[in-house]
């Protein structure tokens, strides 16, 4: 038996862990809960590493498929089956690796929480669902995982269910995601109706076999490929928090911090990117939708980055940062740089998970405080947290040779290389976002770790570095934030130094990108241009850091106050997140509720039942009136008889 044959165990183990912890064990079995809750994803990680080694060494680049059982047969034949190909291999590694370390961290972070067991049950359930999403060999299994992670997100955002806000935020996340899922489902229906299969490999094959069929007009003035691509992309905007459906992610921070790290930064929210790359054949055939993807991605990136600049809650800063970075990934996918999208997905998973866990460590030390205005100067008390947070911030800011630099640079280069004036604009937007990213992230670093402590006396007394079980994952992830980029060092760099092209990730992922005739041509840039682009992105990142340093390192909160005083309008706009939530509430939620009440009170109660009651009343009235004629008086009946005869006579004569 080879390691790949145990593939099914990788999602099955966390599912089993969730079932045991959730249903069988009780709170008093804490050591056992820990052993299972961390052990199941740990074993999954080991199995995943073995399977990946097996795959890379023996099978690559052919996909490996494992059939489990038939979900349905007949005209709608869908299997529950898994697929390892270069794309899912990368995802598998990211999910199991980052997932495992976040579980380890949670042992410390959630250690004193009364819902410890429930927490691990949900987290394991999430791991299982996420692995289904990643490993599924067809759209249905992917969708099962897709919704499964959505459920776990709902449960974990609302983890502190005894408070009012978290369950509300969970509901919001689920409903907003469902809006995206609505489109995702329509896309699935379309592909099944037209191609009779949902299997990724077969779909790509069948679409490529007859490109004309995919490009014929279908619905909404779009081609078949275009319509489906649009549907999937709308689905992705929900799960991956892009404009216009990004509003749920900042609220999702109501969940425990490890949840934010795992679900709302490293894995689940990137599922939309994974889906778009998975179905890249459609996007390649629908350039107009690809353009839309790029524009939405770039717009989300910059909008979220600007909001991030004005947030005071450390987790909110990271949340908007995540939205912004996801925007980068979609920008990459939109310009056809699919490998770059996955590259950034992977590097982002490391540094953003590390940042979130770091913020968790800070919050832990602060006794639950998340407001950066009450922090400051924490680097003395939390040295390990500070160092790892700082490294990851450098990584996300795009400073070489850390991970974020290479992946972000590749996205910007891909955008720049794409023909068309619009893409130059998108490149400028991307570049500006890079500067903003460096700026707001270093603002967070300075406000949290530099300057003087601004919290209460008790908090100051309570400050402490987190235990090993939390700092070790931080160190591991920070290491990833440093080295993860090295697998994708651009071709130009190698060649400039006269070496062979060792862009490992590119070679590995190349088979994932479908070869559509006449689309997605490899950009040809001279090495000089490539170096210049890198220099530009480093320069703007340094500029962003410089601004943050000059503003917040010494002046701290005064800088914010000064900014607010200088540009009050902008400040209010950013602080209130462009009022998007309020606009949705006025334009969608309230009218819908009014419509619902109208349906109930007016249509149901007034018109339908009212009409029936009137009918019943008339019937009763007729009966009551008729009753008066039946008096039992014979002479009266004779009178009726006479009247009848007269009437009859009159009618017959005339």
């Amino acid at each position: 038996m080879r390691p790949l044959d145990l593939l099914w165990l990788i999602p099955a183990l966390p599912f089993a862990g969730a079932a045991v912890n959730g249903l069988l064990l009780r709170n008093r079995h804490k050591p056992l809960v820990t052993a299972i809750g961390v052990g199941a994803p740990g074993l999954s990680l080991v199995l995943a590493l073995a399977a990946l080694w097996d795959y890379v060494a023996n099978l690559r680049p052919q996909p490996f498929e494992q059939f489990l059982y038939a979900w349905t047969t007949g005209s709608l034949a869908i299997d529950v089956a898994f697929r390892v190909d270069p794309l899912s291999a990368v995802m598998l590694f990211v999910v199991t690796f980052v997932g495992f370390w976040i579980h380890v961290y949670s042992v410390g972070y959630m250690g004193h929480d009364p819902g410890y067991r429930r927490f691990f049950a949900y987290m394991n359930l999430f791991m299982g669902a996420m692995l289904l999403l990643v490993l599924g060999n067809n759209l249905l299994v992917m969708f099962v995982g897709w919704e499964g992670v959505g459920l776990c997100s709902y449960l974990l955002i609302g983890y502190y269910f005894e408070e009012a806000f978290p369950p509300f935020a969970g509901k919001k996340a689920f409903v907003v995601n469902r809006i995206g899922d609505f489109a995702f489902l329509l896309g699935i229906f379309t592909l099944f109706s037209e191609y009779g299969t949902l299997h990724f490999g077969q779909l790509t094959e069948r679409i490529l076999a007859d490109p004309g069929a995919a490009q014929r007009p279908f619905l909404l003035g779009l081609s078949l490929a275009g319509f489906t691509a649009l549907c999937f992309f709308i689905g992705a905007t929900g799960k991956s928090a892009q404009i216009p459906l990004f509003v749920w992610l900042p609220d999702a921070m109501a969940g425990p911090t490890p949840v934010s790290a795992l679900i709302h930064a490293a894995t689940m929210v990137t599922a939309g990117v994974y889906m778009v790359v998975r179905t890249n054949v459609l996007y390649q055939m629908a350039p107009e939708i690809s353009t839309l993807v790029a524009v939405i991605g770039a717009a989300t990136a910059i909008v979220a980055a600007t909001i991030g600049l004005a947030q005071n809650d450390i987790k909110k800063v990271l949340a908007y940062s995540t939205v912004s970075q996801l925007g980068y990934m979609f920008l990459a996918a939109g310009v056809g740089a699919y490998v770059a999208a996955i590259f950034h997905l992977a590097t982002h998973a490391f540094f953003k998970a590390c940042l979130f866990l770091g913020s968790g460590s800070v919050i832990h030390a602060m006794g639950g405080e998340q407001d950066m205005r009450k922090m400051g100067g924490l680097k003395k008390q939390l040295p390990a947290t500070y160092r790892t947070f700082w490294i990851s911030t450098l990584a996300i800011a795009g400073i070489p040779p850390l991970a974020g630099f290479f992946s972000k640079d590749e996205i910007l280069a891909g955008t720049f290389a794409h023909p068309g004036a619009l893409y130059r604009v998108l490149w400028v937007v991307g570049l500006l976002t890079a500067g903003l990213t460096a700026c707001y992230m270093f603002r967070a670093v300075y406000l949290t770790f530099e300057g003087k402590f601004r919290g209460s006396h008790e908090q100051a007394h309570h400050l402490h570095e987190s235990p090993r079980v939390m700092t070790v994952p931080l160190v591991v992830l920070a290491t990833g934030a440093v080295v993860a980029g090295w697998i994708g060092i651009p071709k130009g760099v190698w060649e400039t130094f006269g070496a062979h092209d060792r862009n490992l990730l590119h070679h590995f992922l190349a088979p994932v990108v479908a070869e559509v005739h006449g689309a997605g041509a490899e950009h040809g840039m001279s090495h000089l241009v490539e170096w210049l682009l890198m220099a530009a992105s480093v320069a703007i990142a340094l500029a962003g850091i410089g601004i943050a340093r000059s503003q917040w390192k010494r002046r701290g909160l005064e800088a914010d106050a000064a900014f607010a005083a200088r540009t009050p309008v902008v400040q209010r706009l950013l602080e209130n997140k462009y009022w998007v939530d309020e606009i949705y509430d006025r334009l969608v939620v309230r009218p819908l509720a009014a419509l619902a009440r109208g349906c109930w009170k007016i249509v149901d109660t007034l018109i339908i039942d009212g009409g029936l009651h009137v009918g019943a009343f008339v019937t009763e009235l007729t009966g009551d009136l008729g009753r008066f004629t039946t008096t039992g008086n014979v002479r009266q009946y004779a009178l009726y008889f006479l009247g009848g005869v007269v009437l009859l006579f009159w009618w017959m004569v005339l």
Binding site: F143, G148, G158, A596, I608
Partner: protein
């Protein structure tokens, strides 16, 4: 006749499955003075025997090809020009619903344990007679027999609501009765008309399903008859705008009554469309399908919206039924094999998840004698197992993949999309979003958030009996969701046969005068007409 009916009753037959509950009700006549617990245990035992009989029958007689398995046909009323027979059988279309009825019976008994606080003998009798009515209507292969059972269902349900119901039980019971009656009378006229027409053509009146299937009627007659049947069924489903009896009936009915009502009774409406209205009058069905589809989709959105703003949990679940059955109707009217498979499994799904939701609301009601949202909030901490089952059932109802609701909705929507109903499917899929809104609203208002009422602090969590009532439902919710093939396959051949027959008849224009087509024994029907059912069906009209 008596003798042979008796032998059917005593033999291993469909008839026994139908009439065993009635037989079992006879001893209750002598148990008037018995203690309630004895009656309850008796009812539980009977229901377990019934499900056991069903499983035994299925194991022994079920046709692997999924086509109809009949009892010997008995003459009922023989006259020179009239032959009414007693003909019953089970095929792949009725089997899932028959088994669902069996599954729900013990669940209802367990669920009523506390809620029904008086006249347990009467309650059990009504319940058992109701079961006979439901099963009879499901297995009837003669339209007059079907009608008799159809009406038999009415009385016990009327009593259950009217005697064991809530405060406005009389209003609700009368409303339920009048609505249903109004529809079914027209259907009776339709049935009689069909039998008479058959008699005019052959010299012998008949109400047998397989005989009446041979009738080829002019479009205009089909339209009238289809209208009569469709009205009866649409009220039962219920489809918008004939639905207003349902929320009242549910709110007033005792828990067990609601479970049976939502779980099975409503399915008789959708089953009627699939079994009778469509196959008997294909041209009319095709002509009127757009209108009915419109009503189905309105029902999906409308039911969901109204459910969302209800102040009463039970009313929310009742309106959700309207939305869910809108999906079933969409699937049936799409006339696509996948959609039909979805519609059939969705009937079962709705019985499971809505049944569970009604049970759960009833369990709260048993404790606090209220089912208003304002009286709850934040009780998850106090009653964790209740919360678990509520979340589980709600998620099944939302259509979360890997649970049952998703299977039905997915198949219905895929099939309808394949049939070319793009806009309607898009709107219905949006109904899935609305389902998330109102069902999560249900959770939000009851179990999440801070505890709003001091009196809920001492709420008891579920006991063993209640868990036993919920567990079978939840097991099937998960099983159907994870491995739907097991539940879809047995029904496929029967659905294929009916659909093929329907398509074949539709392919020929309706005659100018009533005529008699080829024999269409449902057991063999379709085999000879087999067409490529997987070919996307875009506009059946030639």
């Amino acid at each position: 006749m008596g003798g042979s009916f008796l032998s059917l009753l005593l033999g291993d037959t469909v008839t026994r499955l139908v009439f065993f509950p009635t037989l079992a009700a006879v001893p209750l006549l002598f148990m008037g003075k018995a203690k309630p617990i004895a009656v309850k245990l008796y009812a539980l035992a009977v229901s377990l025997v019934e499900i056991g009989l069903m499983l035994a029958w299925t194991a022994a007689h079920w046709d692997a090809a999924g086509l109809v398995v009949k009892d010997p046909v008995l003459p009922w009323l023989e006259m020179p020009s009239l032959s009414i027979v007693y003909e019953v059988g089970i095929d792949g279309i009725s089997l899932p619903l028959v088994l669902l009825t069996g599954l729900l019976l013990p669940v209802v008994v367990l669920g009523s344990w506390k809620g029904v606080d008086r006249h347990w003998t009467g309650f059990t009798t009504a319940l058992l007679l109701l079961t006979t009515g439901i099963l009879g209507a499901l297995v009837a292969l003669d339209l007059l027999v079907f009608y008799v059972f159809w009406e038999v269902m009415l009385i016990p349900m009327y009593l259950i609501i009217g005697i064991w119901g809530g405060e406005r039980r009389i209003y609700a019971a009368v409303k339920f009765f009048l609505f249903t009656m109004a529809g079914s009378l027209l259907m009776l006229i339709g049935i009689l008309w069909l039998g008479w027409t058959y008699g005019r053509l052959t010299g012998l009146w008949s109400f047998r399903y397989q005989d009446l299937l041979r009738l080829d009627l002019p479009v205009e007659q089909q339209l009238w008859l289809f209208g009569a049947f469709a009205l009866a069924f649409a009220i039962k489903v219920p489809m918008f705008p004939f639905h207003t009896w349902l929320p009242d009936a549910h709110v007033e009915a005792p828990t067990g009554g609601s479970v049976i009502l939502a779980g099975i009774l409503l399915k008789l409406g959708t089953y009627g469309f699939l079994r009778f209205a469509l196959p008997l009058f294909p041209h009319a069905a095709d002509r009127l399908a757009p209108w009915l589809l419109g009503l189905a989709v309105i029902g999906i959105v409308y039911g969901a919206l109204v459910a969302w703003v209800q102040p009463d949990m039970k009313k929310l679940v009742a309106y959700s039924s309207i939305a869910h059955l809108g999906f079933v109707m969409l699937g049936i009217l799409a006339c696509d094999l996948i959609a039909w498979q979805g519609a059939l499994i969705q009937m079962v799904n709705h019985g499971l998840s809505t049944g569970a939701l009604f049970l759960l609301v009833g369990m709260l009601y048993d404790r606090r004698h209220t089912k208003k949202f304002e009286d709850f909030g934040g009780i998850a901490k106090v009653v964790p197992w209740f919360a678990f089952f509520l979340v589980f059932s709600t998620l099944a109802s939302v259509g979360l993949p890997a649970l049952n609701g998703f299977v039905g909705e997915f198949l219905i929507l895929v099939g309808a999309w394949r049939a070319g109903l793009h806009l309607l499917v898009a709107i219905s899929t949006f109904g899935v979003v609305l389902a998330a809104i109102y069902l999560l609203h249900l959770l939000q208002k009851t179990i999440w958030g801070p505890l709003t009422r001091e009196e809920n602090r001492g709420l008891r969590d579920l006991d063993v009996r209640e868990v036993l009532a919920l567990l079978p439902l939840c097991v099937f919710m998960l099983w159907i969701g994870v491995a739907p093939k097991t539940f879809l396959e047995p029904s496929r051949p029967a659905l294929e046969a009916v659909l093929a027959d329907y398509r074949a008849r539709l392919a020929q224009p309706a005659p100018a005068a009533p005529g008699l087509g080829a024999s269409r024994n449902p057991a063999e029907a379709g085999r000879s007409f087999l067409v490529d059912l997987d070919a996307p069906d875009r506009g059946v009209q030639p």
